[in-house]
Amino acid sequence: MSLAHEMAFANPLITAYAVEATEFPDLARRYMVNGVPKTVVNDQVEILGALPQDDFIEQALQLPAKKQL
């Protein structure tokens, strides 16, 4: 989680939510969360598992931003 939070803190355009999946089954279903951690960026990019910093940031920023939550 801390990498997503670090990204939010480093750029005012980025917002990062840590979502407790078991408390919000509707969100877990909508984003097909079968394992954790699962990261979803702008409803488009999915990152499964915990990645090293370089890989996480590269994948999280791979698509142009389109819409906010």
Binding site: M1, S2, L3, A4, H5, E6, M7, A8, F9, A10, N11, P12, L13, I14, T15, A16, Y17, A18, V19, E20, A21, T22, E23, F24, L27, A28, Y31, V33, V36, P37, K38, T39, V40, V41, N42, D43, Q53, D54, I57, A60, L61, P64, A65, K66, K67, Q68, L69
Partner: protein, 147 residues
């Protein structure tokens, strides 16, 4: 009843002592139909006694809907992490927690408090530059479980 052991309290007290900026945790909650709001409040109540730089601002999700909207909060319990740049000047860090910050999430919350409170970023200079170059809104959701 303390949810954190006295040894952990001591460790947290030492970590929080390094903070250079006051941190405000905006706690969005409601009285009815929220199974984990009370538990979240109990967890958050453990923190201010460990540092005078941490305060909890409770926001009623129903009565203060505008404030929830301002912070992009559409469900409870939720926490928005903010900080004081100058006395009375609150800046949103855009770090959010949805659900009770128990177990692993509690560690994330502590890390977020320390980051916003002035500790050094773990991002490498290259990655910090890449993140800073983002010019459009980005929303990141990280799904976790307490275990």
């Amino acid at each position: 009843m303390a949810l954190i052991s006295s040894a952990d309290q001591e460790r947290l007290r030492e970590s929080f002592a390094e903070m250079t900026r006051p941190v405000r945790l905006l706690f969005f909650t409601q009285t009815l139909d929220c199974e984990t709001c009370l538990h979240t409040r109990q967890i958050l109540d453990e923190l201010p006694p460990l540092s005078d730089r941490i305060t909890i601002d409770e926001v009623n999700f129903v009565l203060e809907a505008d404030r929830a909207k301002e912070y992009g909060i559409d469900r409870v319990p939720a926490i928005a992490v903010a900080y004081e740049d100058a006395p009375g000047a609150i800046t949103d860090s855009r770090i959010r927690f949805l659900g009770a910050p128990a177990g692993y999430e509690f560690i994330s919350l502590v890390q977020a408090i320390l980051l916003v409170g002035g500790s050094e970023s773990v991002l490498s200079p290259d990655n910090r530059a890449r993140v800073a170059a983002v010019a459009q809104p980005v929303t990141i959701q990280v799904f976790t479980t307490p275990g």
